[in-house]
Symmetry: C2
């Protein structure tokens, strides 16, 4: 009895997610993001996955991140004009930027809250995406 070819790669990530073929570079980017709550930048991803893929380029990291974002595998998060950050949390959530430490924290909504119900939107508005960003201090 022979074993079937596995769908799981050396990184522990399947061959394909949401219709996106998971190349080795995409696997490494995704695997790193999945283990991070810190919302790393492209450059931070680059530095980190070079450990596993010494020849990877920053352009490829950007390409991978763009592909992952477009296929809704991770999310891109922007704070003002700072470098984009990337978030593995696909649940609806906001982002709290702690000014004291510079850290970013996910913020859940209280149960049963529908953001759009609280907004004075014109009728027939189709909302495809909501983004909530908070700035402050964790006293």
């Amino acid at each position: 009895m022979t074993t079937q070819p596995s769908q799981i790669q050396p990184t522990g990530i399947p061959e394909e997610i949401n219709g996106l073929r998971m190349t080795r570079q995409r696997q490494e980017v995704y695997r790193f993001l999945m283990g991070e709550q810190s919302h790393p930048t492209a450059n931070e991803v680059f530095i980190r996955i070079k450990e596993a893929l010494p020849n990877v380029s920053l352009a490829t990291v950007y390409n991978c991140l763009e592909a992952l974002v477009q296929h809704k595998i991770v999310r891109q998060v922007n704070f003002d004009r700072e470098p984009s950050r990337y978030c593995p949390n696909l649940d609806e959530h906001g982002h709290f930027h702690d000014e004291t430490t510079g850290t970013i924290h996910d913020v859940k909504f209280k149960p049963g809250i529908k953001l759009t119900d609280l907004l004075d939107l014109p009728p027939n508005t189709v909302i495809k995406d909501i983004e909530i960003t908070l700035r402050g201090q964790l006293a």
Copy 2:
């Protein structure tokens, strides 16, 4: 009987707002923004106030906008990685980005809504600023 020196400038803007001396350049930037709902970019402000101040520089427009924002006279609004936009509406409000037309619209909250009450924030969190951005279509 002689008239007293007026505190109002040729632009109709006072000499000082929120502790910021309103130079001619700042006046023109501010006056233009006050008459706009479109959330213009720095470059759009630049193009427009050149009509009144042909020698104004883009660097000055950026300087003016930064000063106005820091003194809470106007607000800076960012959408993803697009150029910053500027908003004269100081009331608490969000921004709806209509994907079809590319236009931006202010969105009020329904009366009596406190955003922070709806979020699952850790205790002792001091929120200094909230930003809400919506993307979608005006069907």
